[in-house]
Symmetry: C2
Subunit: 694 residues, 2 copies
């Protein structure tokens, strides 16, 4: 399911045009289930104190200390991390009882938070709710004319879905421990509660196995997590109310296993760690008993290491070529009346499931593992979509959605935001069946991310997915989401996430200079190509050795500047904001862009990394010049000549095409200006290129 | 010596006007002792490899791996960290022999580096030279039209001084381990080789003592380093060629000791950890034998923990009040013919020195410890200046300079750069005596730094001090220094130092908004007040509980923007660059600043943190308007009226005064514009306010 994502079917245009629903504004992400603003506010001063009442455990104390530490960072005030038990504290926390020793799906995560001018009270049945409530409080605190303060408010909050995950693929590019940890901090801020750790794939086996040491020794280039480190991550996650679900992808996506244990494979060895991207032939041999003996021991070891109830076996994208080519396997299939490779994989799954079960765990996997003779306890993670989930739910299987949440595809947050696990085919399920849709997971596949830019691919967009999974289904205002997402993004800076802070250094590297103003002007209005275009249109075949130091790697998934520009143009054209200020702002932006090429030129000449950006820069300049001319026409009231318009639209068409694998995001709004200046209706406002390759 | 820094006596103006010496440009910091550029360059490609030949040890391998890791970050290329031993590697390293097991002062740190189009060779007698050479290579690699490359060059390099340190005070504000480590990385990049760890003071005792646990338990608010953490830091430093010299400040600056052990003090207890800044009365009782028994055991423990040869006992700023007030001490002095407190401290030092010596260490301390009957082996660290050092050297004592290197005073890098340990009084020493000047140390006192902004107070300015201590004395071109310092500063971003990356978040916190453009425009042209003004002019008495979240805390010690503006104005006025481009740039800057107040106003209203900045913002606007008018006069050729000039200069005088404890750094250059426009000679070009309070 990695590379074969099929066509999307939801309607996207409608959302962009959806009229903002009137709902009281609260500058939080995710929006709480319900809340009531009151008047007044609670000042957060040096004397700010927190107490724990009711049920207590060390994790709660740590959570409070972390909260105070984060509040200190956010406000710059050295607040006391002493945790009291007095009812007079600024923030009094009451916890009813413990949560499960090993965090479970579906535990009560609710909380209520009341803030008044005199104090705040946070109540929750379990520590999980307390932790969410503390994140909420952090988001409420803002600077005011009188000091830092949280507005008076009453919040009753609980998640819509119990499974709100982020999957990180650490196989294709190894992601070090500190990067994972800061992303766990980001997850906690977004109230996500499952870290799905994609630990093995063709390109690397990333966990130390004491039983089968050749797995990590030969399958990882030395880039793996020790079991101690794994336990450290799990403890770190638990402290933040996050479960850790490990995935070991079998029987396909398993080349890295075979480097050390070729005898498991269906084809002759020897094997090397895969360096390319895509789907590959190697697959575990499901016909030999020693496979299951190995897996029994391996799963026994790993289920001891990973305490979570769920154990993910992957199961996706087996191309079957090694099975087809192996006479012994063909013979076996014939003997056992296994008609095709799909049935052979089902046979494999049916053998693996009892092993997982024997070790006390619930098996989960991608869509492909579903076959009717597996027990209803298994969980399906769907990269195929709501229909696939709905079909499974009807058969009695639980599932969660990742289709539509593939953040490596570099879609805008709005597109992910529009994806609802209970929409489309799932909407017609019975309430009982709908309960089987557990939630969803953002998926960060790692072909094109490094420790340096992975944060910028995860954040802030994952905040929008987190809100979809936490907040009521009716919370859908895209403009509000983007406003809140911007604030949420900046708040993550305090946690050490680098999606904002690494932008400057990456631009400086590209430029080979500290003076990156012109490069930034360009980078601010381009986005990486979407979907699977990057692999398909790469100048040379990308591999794990390919440097991720190009403009496409530095630029953000979503151009805030271009979105702002597009909004200004829409306001002008629709007449909703046809003001001198709007026109002046559009003109200033276009003028700056038109003149940018001259400033950027020396850098483009000087850096081999920037050479490819030359046509993008020229397009920015040319498109902006055309936009300025269109604005002249609009302001003069004189209609643009047809011939001129035709020429300019040809230029726009050209400029919309990817160059250097990035998209010039101001081309579409400028097109609207040109069309309007020529007295034409504007083209359908599809966000350009979103559906490039689906 | 913390708070009583006396008047400075070096000539500063001369340097600003010094004519740039013609010397071949090399974009490195510190500049090597000698080098010869050649033609061609070595491309750094994915195949880049490193080998170690000659003497080997794990530390060398780690150094190479760290180097490759940093080169990978810098270039964005996934380079192999495999260390070979082939003579065919891209970079062949040859080490002659081991350095000392415990790094010593004066060890050979030299290296030679030859880069040609076909490869590079780094040779050094010891691993210390290799580490420096690797930092040099990193700095050589830049982006080119053909790829990342190092220019062909031959470098013969060695430091001018063997003691090149950075002192960090972790008592006044506790500085966590990770912050120290990233600063050790910065030190290695600057080729500094001594981390002087100021571990105890009135405001905190920061090391775990197993012998006297009440020291850290009661003297640190729980903010201390365990012995394991200390060993970790020492190992981390050694891996980077850096010695760690601990300082335990006695007999003054010791309130934190007395919280747990009041019986050591000269006055009656009980004691509390000091929260204020300044010089305080508590001092160790030097007249009782149990003091020395305690110190013997304590020093015995700490000298085992810290392997370095030197042990720093502080010894500064004993105000003697407790001694005066204690009849027993007065009696003792009388009985032992001790005439004054200075002699009493000398008595104390004479008792402590044999203890330090007995534990195998060399005692060092600040100026005050010097007394004629101490052995010549002790080392003086001078906050008083070259004369103090020279006097000591004449008596046979070794010393190092910190006077002029107090980076907490927020002076410009150029001022530190002008301070030479062998200048002034030290210049007339005999060669033999000059050898006793071991080097110098930048000193980061921590009244006004937190983990959040300490990096911005240390870097990049410490790079200029590092160059003074490493490079030949003749390297003095200030313009060149600033150019190289800018590049050096950016290169530190890759090491995780936050002096650049925390600027944005701190501004956003001040603004309570993501839209910080107007605030940044202001913050970019102001600097914190200098010297000890901050304490003297604070709105309320600053303590360790005072939040460091004001504009003064966010803004940089040195405004690059204002320096650039001043240079443009100087070029215009001197006629050296009286071009339309210069004028246009000056006009654009002034226009932006003049119009900034209107944009900033809403933020100023909205954030209590920014209220105090209102007059600064108004001054920026008014001064810029005056500057624009002056420019008009200059461009029109019409002389500005005298009355107008007088009015404007009054405005400038007003605007030069600190507001919100920051200085508006464009006031002086605008004054020059005004004076010139009125046909007057410009005022002496002293950088404004540098000498505010000395």
């Amino acid at each position: 399911m990695r590379s074969l994502l099929l066509s999307m079917c939801f309607v996207f245009i409608s959302l962009l045009f959806a009229i903002a629903q009137p709902q009281p504004q609260i500058n939080m992400m995710p929006v709480p289930a319900s809340y009531q603003m009151a008047s007044g506010r609670l000042l957060v001063q040096l004397s700010f104190s927190v107490s724990l009442t009711g049920y207590k455990e060390p994790r709660l104390e740590h959570a409070v200390q972390r909260f105070v530490h984060n509040l200190s960072r956010q406000t710059g005030m050295p607040l006391s991390t002493r945790v009291g038990d007095s009812a007079d504290a600024s923030l009094v926390i009451h916890t009813e009882h413990a949560s499960k020793d090993i965090q479970e799906f579906g535990e009560d995560e609710s909380y209520s938070l009341t803030v008044s001018a005199t104090g705040a009270e946070l109540k929750a049945p379990t520590p999980l709710g307390v932790m969410h409530g503390l994140e909420t409080f952090l988001q409420l605190v803002e600077v005011t004319p009188d000091g830092f303060a949280a507005p008076a408010i009453t919040i009753q909050d609980k998640p819509r879905f119990g499974w709100r995950g982020l999957m990180i693929d650490v196989s294709r590019h190894f992601i070090p421990l500190d990067v994972l940890k800061r992303n766990l901090d980001g997850m906690a801020a977004a109230k996500l509660n499952v870290f799905h750790w994609h630990l093995s794939d063709n390109q690397g086996f990333r966990v130390e196995s004491k039983k089968f040491p050749k797995l990590h020794e030969l399958g990882s280039d030395g880039l793996y997590y020790t079991q101690e480190e794994v336990r450290d991550v799990i403890a770190y996650a638990r402290e933040r109310g996050i479960r850790v679900v490990p995935e070991f992808d079998i029987p396909g996506h398993s080349t890295a296993w075979f480097v050390g244990y070729p005898e498991l494979a269906s084809g002759p060895g020897p094997y090397q760690i895969e360096r390319r991207w895509g789907i590959f032939d190697p697959a575990i041999d499901p016909t030999q008993e020693k496979t299951y003996k190995f897996l029994d021991e391996f799963i026994g070891e790993m289920t001891k290491l990973f305490p979570d109830q769920y154990f993910h076996i992957g199961g996706d994208e087996v191309n079957g070529k090694q099975w087809n080519a192996n006479p012994k396997i063909q013979e076996f299939m014939h003997a056992h009346d296994i008609k095709n490779n799909q049935e052979l994989q089902a046979y494999f799954n049916k053998k693996v499931q009892p092993i997982v079960s024997k070790h006390g765990k619930t098996m989960m996997g991608w869509d492909e593992i579903l076959s009717p003779d597996l027990p209803k306890s298994i969980v399906i993670q769907s990269w195929r979509g709501q229909k696939s989930l709905a079909d499974a739910a009807k058969q009695g299987y639980s599932g969660l959605l990742s289709h539509g949440y593939y953040i490596d595809l570099i879609w805008p947050a709005s597109r992910h935001y529009a994806v609802d696990p209970l929409a489309d085919a799932a909407a017609s399920l019975s309430p009982e069946e709908q309960k089987r849709i557990l939630g969803g997971e953002a998926a960060m596949w790692a072909e094109f991310v490094s420790p340096e830019n992975i944060d910028s691919r995860i954040w802030p967009r994952t905040g929008a997915i987190a809100e979809r999974l936490w907040s009521p289904a009716e919370v859908q205002d895209v403009n509000s989401m983007y406003e809140r997402l911007a604030k949420f993004s900046r708040s993550l800076d305090w946690l050490g996430l680098t999606h904002n802070s690494n932008y400057g250094p990456m631009l400086r590297r590209l430029a080979g200079s500290d003076d990156t103003a012109a490069l930034r002007a360009l980078a601010d209005v381009v986005e990486p190509v979407k979907g699977y275009s990057r692999e398909k249109t790469a100048p040379t075949e990308p591999t794990s050795a390919t440097p991720l130091n190009r403009l496409i790697d530095a630029t953000r998934p979503e151009s805030d500047t271009a979105r702002r520009f597009a909004n200004l143009v829409d306001g002008l054209i629709s007449g909703q904001s046809n003001t001198p200020e709007t026109k002046a702002e559009i003109r200033a932006m276009l003028t700056r862009w038109r003149d940018n090429q001259v400033k950027l030129e020396p850098l483009l000449q000087n850096s081999f990394l920037l050479k490819e950006a030359d046509p993008v820069s020229r397009n920015l300049s040319a498109v902006s010049a055309a936009g300025l001319r269109a604005l002249d026409y609009l302001e003069s009231g004189q209609q643009a000549p047809k011939e001129w318009k035709t020429e300019q639209l040809a230029l726009i068409e050209q400029a919309k095409k990817p160059n250097a694998q990035v998209l010039l995001m101001i081309a579409s709004p400028v097109q609207k200006l040109i069309e309007t200046s020529a007295g034409e209706p504007v083209s359908a406002a599809v966000r350009q290129h979103d559906d490039d390759d689906e």
